[in-house]
Symmetry: D3
């Protein structure tokens, strides 16, 4: 886990170091462990700093009822997100024990779903539903961006498998998709917040972008505070640079 | 209801008119009918084009358990959002009949809650929970922005009542808060999308801002597509202008 | 809101006045605001004293499964009743937050459904389900009778619309239907109880009648007490007179 | 089970006999088998024609939260009603399998609760909750009236036990309570409808009365039809006579 | 109810008697009251010592969806188990009030289902679902074994009825099935534990066997303790002898 | 995944090999990857053939309400078991999507809980609740035995951590606990069934034992068939040998 953030200027450069020694625009180390769940069509375990998310992609040979009723051509991608009970320092109760799905989880899984649908040509996947499940194994900030970044890898692996099995003739993949968080802590814009930074952030912005530099989603919140246009511009710049690195890491994991 | 969007250039100006005759940067007519629910501490019915939302604010003289357990000073604001069954052309089933809260509704009510918490100094409201309930009576696009814009009015009315009753000595209100949607339809940035425009939009951005020009929330989605930085800049400009008008309308309604 | 009931004999007549100045057999003022929810097929806002109920009627082009399975000719009418959270002086939690529908609400919505099914020839509405939704905006006693009385107006408006659209060739409407409460407070029979009277009543009787003077429903309860046949007779007389006035008000609203 | 109703005039009297040979004002045979559930504080199995209901009364040494919060003196009685899956010719799914309590069951259990609370002086039962559970073993019409009539017997047995154990010094019992249904079938008023009569009835009225001839509840419904004042009077007369017989049967069972 | 277990050696035999005077290998008295729920296809009330369970069997003329989808020939048997609220000395809340099925009940109903499916040739019952419902009326230990032993009787009665109605040409019944519990209390193996013995037992073993001496289910638990192979052998011997007596009692009840 | 079981006698030994080449009494390869979820107090990933289960142990500094109410000394251990959606070849829907916990999962988590409570002296863990969560990552038969065998390792790691932190002075661990399945396939007793063997098994027996050779749980089912005492004896012998190997593997993983 990240320790408490105490920014101190470095004597030589004047740039404050972060709690884990990173520079403001530096990502945490990122690693993909593919095929973590071999019965999934595609799966990976993303380890991003101390955040770990299992992404598993499975395929159902039918489409949701609304697609049938409306005669929509092609398939659908839907996502589910959940935190395993032992992913946080204080045990997180399962949704089923509370009898309802966590509001934050719902919000995140809807975001993952939209991001993945932007990565793929839904008409080309045939009359199928692709399920993208993201389960957090360890939560140290940035679980939604890790989920999206990992989900893209698992989705790519699943598509490869469908193609090798002859179920897809042509790749439905569009541009690659990755996500990162940026935030303002102690008036300084930072890339890729860990949990303690996130808790201390006055602004928190999640960016989902693709490999041609376009936005897919942009979610900025003042966390019960506010932010200016200048701050927004600085955050977008940091985030764009971060996404580029992530996209490269994904490509390496898929090579 | 708004009819299908068929932009045609005006002979004189070259600017295409929208389905309801508005210019690209023009808001739909906005009206507040305060005290629609007299037993609420504050309430208003926002009519914004064909979208109608009832906003009711009630006050509970206690705080959520987590605040007590963590000894947090002050109070809390929480929001609930729901669509009445007859608010859409096709009846919308109640959440209780489906046995679970709608995912989209949860996302929206969390957004309303964050927006209202940015409008008020929570320490100054005392050991109370303020409930902000938004029920959609007619849905023609922009229900979440109408809910936020109306909720601010209802909240202001409720605070006034608490002050007149001596329950609050000092106003906890910070800056006024309003929200608007902007989007790109047929490659043209438009302010305040009605339902048919929203359904046709390639980009949809919701802006929550305050009266000193700061952002509270920024939620942009490519709706399974993408958008560029240039489009983002154009949308932010349109949105900021729209929010200014909304803030003025709120002040008039509260005068 | 009605103040506490302190019946004092009028010097001239000896008849005690009620808390809001009404005579024992006098209704509270009644007003219908039609088309409150324009996307509904028919809608009205009933304001009856301080009680306000939104009645929205929507139409679904199919029938419940049990009708299909049993090959029943015609359509169905079903009702739902709910209290908006800000309709009471102390906020009323939504059913979905408690995870189950309120027992009292269920009882009332079943009553509304039966009343509306008695107002219409179900065989003549075709293979459709008519949904009657009643949402209480302000609750000051008599919400179920207001819901029924308003639901009849909304239903009539909806039928008119279906006829004007050519979906119905012939009117399915039978006799008009209205409902009122009567009760015994301080040993005196009273028409149309407001909340404080209802809370103080030893007997509470709800009458649903039609425009040819027949009963549709009769629900009398001693509220954990009892009542005699004599009291029953007096209450029925008061109630019948009240329903007549209500039926006239409905006709005016539909003119 | 009752067979299909085919009223034929008796040669001598001109009075049509009912499907099971009863006269219009005749009750079905009634039998109580007390102590059917020996771990209950009081219990009985009511067999009323082909309708069988288990009534079990248990006692909890605390009161509902709302009573504590409002400092109400005395205790509370609450009822639950349920149909066992094998009580009907076609299996009835359990509430827990559907995930929600049946609307009709809720309505009935609220009625049983009110009836029992009218039978007892709640202040005299001490700070206790008395649970009255009614489970239908066989359903041939009149389950709610059988439940109430049996619940009174089980409640009396429970009170006796509490007194014998010294938990109650003084009997809290007020007047005895019983319930019966009356209805109009083929234009003839009938007492105590069995299932096929109930299904064919144009009017259905449930009467809950006490041993001094007062009404506790009166629930009449036209079952999607209507009824006149004359019919109401005839039904009330039949019902009152029936309740008298039921009260006598209860006393015999408690002797 | 069984009183507290105080084993004392009999002067003459040295064998300790049990709380209710039984010898270690002695069953409690067993009695079947068939047709307790006449609308069921088959039913019985098992009274086994102070434990009473209603077993009702009903038949649905269709099979579960998974059987249709997998084109499985024949029918299915499924069981549900529930404790009536007044079956225990302290009232047991209904599942529907808690909103979820009790874990222990689920475990038991799955066990009953497997046991009944071993008693019958599923291919021979045709395209039907047989529902076996077991509701505990009084719980004094051994409710699951009483449920299984009674369910077999109710199932046999139901099959007889289906055959007499010509719905089954050939009996699908295989060998008879019964169940008993055995346990170690104060280091002594005992047959057929009542509640206080069960609560004091260091080992608890439930045996489901058929009439040719084969095992269908064997569930032994150290109840947070452990047991040796020697103890296991002694318990199996006691249990086998007990099941033989139960099978004889079933035959008598079905004669 | 295991392929279809086709036993063929080896020319030299006459012993048929299993689908994956194992001998009848041979376990699948077993591996523990400790600390898979670093925020848990103890965790391990068990890989047992193609079955993979994440076991995470967390500690809550309070006890369940029933322990407080009954003044029970010491702490409690409770378990939850769930299958991740991508753990099976066909996606497994989450419990929360179905709105209720899977019956089989409940049965298994109750079993894990009892097994872990037999491994530890509950009085020595202080006033704490230990949560044992088992989430299946890949399901190829034996998930419940893998969960128990892994849970013991995770629990031991958690206890070590509590001792190193000084929260426990003395180890509460009793004997080590492991579990294995045995079954009869094609009339041959086999140790440690993989999924295809399990699906083909006529008998399935799960054994939970400790390191001094005692039974904790014994669950044998004929899977809608039956088994004899001779088969039982052969299965117990195979199982006991298997558990010994598992206990050794656990010790190695904890060394």
């Amino acid at each position: 886990m990240c320790r408490v953030y105490m920014p101190e200027p470095l004597p030589s450069t004047g740039v404050p170091l972060r709690t884990d020694g990173r520079l403001p625009g530096q990502l945490r180390p990122l690693r993909f462990q593919n095929h973590i769940a071999p019965y999934a069509t595609g799966s990976t375990l993303v380890e991003w700093g101390n955040t770990r998310v299992i992404c598993g992609v499975t395929v159902e040979e039918s489409v949701p009822r609304w697609m049938k009723e409306q005669n929509v051509i092609g398939g659908w991608i839907t996502a589910e997100y959940s935190m395993l009970p032992y992913s946080t320092l204080q045990r997180k109760q399962r949704d089923i024990s509370k009898g309802k799905i966590d509001g934050r989880s719902q919000e995140i899984q809807r975001l993952i779903g939209r991001a993945m649908r932007a990565a793929i040509d839904l008409e080309k996947i045939g009359s199928r539903t692709i399920w993208v499940d993201c389960d957090v194994l360890q939560a140290d900030g940035g679980t939604r961006t890790a989920a999206i970044t990992g989900a893209y890898v698992a989705l790519s692996l699943a598509v490869r498998k469908l193609m090798s099995e002859g179920k897809l003739k042509e790749s439905p993949m569009l541009h690659a998709v990755a996500a990162v968080s940026v935030g303002v802590v102690n008036r300084q814009p930072l890339l890729d917040l860990c949990y303690v930074e996130d808790a201390a952030a006055a602004v928190d912005l999640n960016l989902v972008m693709n490999s041609v530099g376009e936005f897919i989603e942009l979610q900025g919140t003042g966390e019960e505070a506010t932010f200016s246009e200048t701050e927004l511009a600085a955050l977008l710049a940091l985030g764009k640079a971060g996404v580029k690195e992530l996209l490269a890491a994904q490509q390496a994991a898929l090579a």
